[in-house]
Amino acid sequence: MTTASVTPVIQAQGLEKRFGRVHALAGLDLSVSAGEVHGFLGPNGAGKSTAIRILLGLARATGGTARVFGRDPWADAVALHRRLGYVPGDVTLWPNLTGGEAVDLLSRLRGGTADKAAYAARKKRLVEAFDFDPTKKGRAYSKGNRQKVALIAAFVTPAELLILDEPTSGLDPLMEAVFEGEVHRAAGEGSTVLLSSHILSEVEQLCDRVTIIRSGRTAETGTLEQLRHLTRTEIAFASEGMSPARLAAIPGAHDLTVTGGRVRFTADTDGLPAVLGALATLAVRGLTVAPPSLEELFLRHYGDRPAEGASPGAGIGTGTDAGHRPGDAAS
């Protein structure tokens, strides 16, 4: 166990995967340490699922290295699979097996049913928590319910590593909350979690560190705090009584727009004290200061908004509406 705590649980360097001429992965770096919940972000087609298939030893990398628990996932797939649980992005079930049977089958294969009574209790708890009917045939389940089968099977057997590929894309908000609770519980028991997602609030809620990938490459990686530092804080206040001349006095204001009775601009995190001072002298009303959300990080990498240096007051900003975000500071 001492080696496990030193070497990262997942370590990928320069990972490449070509399908003919298509580069699904073109130099992915990913490092997940023991005990952390790691968000794996990227839009559809960025290569998240391909990377996960390589980490599971279902596909072979055409370049770079991948190590899980320090071992080659292609060569040592079976040994690694004893230590991990997996939820695929698109769960399909055996049409004539019931959901309960599928959970039992997967758990038995993973060796999680040795203590029958304990297993039955864990299964019962999860079936109830996810409000799941285990007696229906696989073909009769909706997408969300198929996902529940894979989630229950993943959580019912304790795993050192959980690889979850967009696990909540078919769940309703209530079930998402249950899912988040289960991830917290697993992490609390010492599991390492790799959570691929494009639901940003989920990642913000759960993850310690995040890797953002784009077109098969790592675009950004770090803790949420580190990533936030890279982006600007969004500030807005009522435009009543403001003139362009007065607004020009705000130091370090980027992408300043006046629309719908609100002045909006962004400011570098480092320059925030000076900006706040200027706002005090302007005696602004209805002030909101929003920390950079993951959504903005995301849009910074993928959105079509002009990258840097757009002139203040020019046109309509394509940034997102900062009005209803958790963590808004209103005055």
Binding site: R60, L84, Y86, D90, T92, L97, T98, L109, K136, R139
Partner: protein, 537 residues
């Protein structure tokens, strides 16, 4: 009308290759039969002998048809019509289910039903599409028979009978699709009904009464079967189309029920409701093999039932022929020229029928293994292989199951054949023959097991089509090569050609080669799958 045209165009486009194979294959079978009969039984005396033998031993009638005199064309109709009708029935039921329940199950139908096409129009389009396919099938069959040198009038009556049978089963297939929730279930039910039609006709003809030296009329069970109705047209002799009204009537009744039921039920729902199952798995469901068995045992038992049916035929037919032939040496001569000499007559007949059991076992092995590709494409294989199950172990589970399935099919047929022989008062040595004949089929069936597994590893996307094509090719070249007058080198390509004949000269070389190919293919598939990535759809 525009919507109907679009839906029809989509069906044609989706089916264009599949229907080409069904229609082309059926027409080719008709053409080959016409040509081969003219070649092998050009002599009226030989035809008369065969018909006399058939009338004296009803089990032959089950596998052929209703004798209507010794004319060349009437003999062709006797030999091949039931099989043409069987193919038309299968083509039509698969077509019906594919475009109705199949689409509903996959959710595609919902997309279409949300457009102004609504719920009824897709069904109408399937009906028009199916009737069109059967009309083309009838015309192609008639044209093939004319090309084979048979009279125009009778050939078109045959074509009409084939088309009418197909249309009757189109209705049956569409009705099955209303009843069951899955296309698998609907296909299973309608294929069983096609099989029932074949068996009813077989019994009706076997129990028929001779009306002349070489003619018979059917007993009543034939009149319960669409295939029987087609046969009652007596093409090339009395050429009457009136029985086909029964086929069209059945189609009409089925379709009226289809539209009545569909207007009353929800989209995606079925008359037979889906049952709930166990919340916890049985202890057996705890390994890759356990899963493979659970997924396929029903299918394997169905193949075994088919094997048992052939075993029953072999058991009863052999003793019947023995009695008939005992009184007429001319029949013995004719029969040996057909089935191949060597050993006693009973042994020869058992061998000939067990060749079909071998084909069933090979088909069963193929179906067992191609399931892996279906699992891979669906994504369930990914779920399985993310647990501590290696790819090699996964494949091994299916290979063991495939081998077991082959043994089950062969054992079922041998057992039933032995019981048939015993009840007919044959001595115990004949029972040994039945088991030897079944065992002789093992190497060829295992070749199919290994080769299909290798196809799955090397060309996953093409594996299902290629696997089944090889089975069909092997049966045509090996089991029908003689009847079709194909050259020996072509027949030698089929594994079934090298199956040893019980009581004949031992073909040890063939057994060795088949076993070697099977072992190498199985070994190579296990080794190569370890190096292959898991694919997706």
């Amino acid at each position: 009308m525009t919507a109907l045209r679009i839906l029809l165009g989509q069906r044609l486009r989706r089916d264009r290759l599949q229907l080409l194979f069904w229609i082309g294959g059926t027409a080719l079978l008709a053409l080959f039969a016409a040509v081969a009969v003219a070649q092998s039984y050009g002599d009226p005396v030989a035809r008369d002998q065969i018909l006399a033998l058939a009338i004296s031993s009803p089990a032959i009638l089950v596998l052929r048809g209703l004798p209507q005199g010794g004319g060349l064309a009437a003999f062709v109709f006797f030999e091949i019509f039931t099989y043409l009708a069987l193919l038309a029935g299968l083509m039509s039921t698969f077509l019906a289910v594919r475009h109705t329940r199949g689409d509903e199950e996959s959710g595609r139908a919902e997309l279409v039903e949300a457009t102004p096409a609504a719920r009824t129009l897709p069904t109408v389009a399937t009906l028009v599409h199916g009737i069109g396919a059967n009309l083309v099938l009838g015309l192609a069959t008639a044209a093939a028979l004319v090309l084979g040198g048979l009279e125009l009038r009778g050939s078109f009556v045959t074509g009409a009978a084939v088309a009418a049978t197909g249309i009757a089963f189109l209705g049956v297939g569409m009705l099955s699709a209303q009843f069951l929730r899955t296309s698998r279930g609907a296909n299973g039910l309608s294929v069983a009904l096609v099989g029932l039609a074949f068996v009813l006709r077989g019994f009706g003809d076997a129990l028929g009464t001779p009306t002349g030296p070489l003619e018979m009329t059917s007993a009543w069970p034939s009149w319960l079967s669409p295939i029987g109705w087609g046969q009652q047209t007596s093409a090339y002799t009395s050429d009457t189309l009136i029985p086909l009204l029964l086929s069209l009537g059945l189609a009409g009744v089925c379709l009226a029920a289809v539209f009545a039921l569909q207007s009353r039920r929800d989209s995606g729902a079925s008359l037979v409701a889906e049952r709930h199952g166990r919340a916890d798995a049985r202890p057996a469901l705890s390994s890759a093999f356990g899963l493979a068995w659970r997924l396929q045992w029903g299918t394997i038992l169905a193949w075994a039932a088919g094997g048992a049916a052939f075993g029953y035929l072999a058991g009863t037919l052999a003793s019947l022929v023995q009695q008939a032939a005992g009184s007429d040496p001319a029949i013995v001569g004719t029969l040996e020229s057909v089935a191949g000499a060597g050993g006693s007559l009973t042994q020869t007949l058992i061998g000939a029928l067990f060749a079909f059991v071998g084909a069933l076992a090979a088909a069963c092995a193929t179906q067992t293994v191609v399931r892996m590709r279906q699992e891979e494409a669906a994504g369930t294989a990914e779920l399985l292989l993310s647990t501590p199950v290696s790819r090699g172990r996964w494949l091994a589970g299916y290979l063991v199951l495939g081998a077991l399935a082959v043994l089950i099919v062969l054992a079922a047929s041998a057992l039933v054949a032995a019981l048939g022989l015993l009840s007919a008062g044959e001595d115990a040595a004949r029972i040994g023959d039945a088991f030897a004949a079944a065992a002789a089929q093992l190497p060829a069936a295992l070749v199919y097991l290994g080769v299909t597994a290798l196809l799955f590893v090397l060309v996953p996307r093409a594996a299902i089509a290629a696997g089944w094509s090889l089975v069909a090719l092997g049966i045509v070249l090996g089991n029908f090569g003689g009847l079709l007058g194909l050259p020996q080198w072509l027949r030698d390509l089929s594994p079934f050609t090298h199956t040893p004949v019980v009581g004949g000269s031992a073909d040890a070389g063939g057994v060795l080669w088949l076993s070697a190919i099977a072992v190498v293919a199985i070994g190579a598939s296990v080794v190569l799958l370890r190096r292959r990535e898991l694919g997706t759809a």
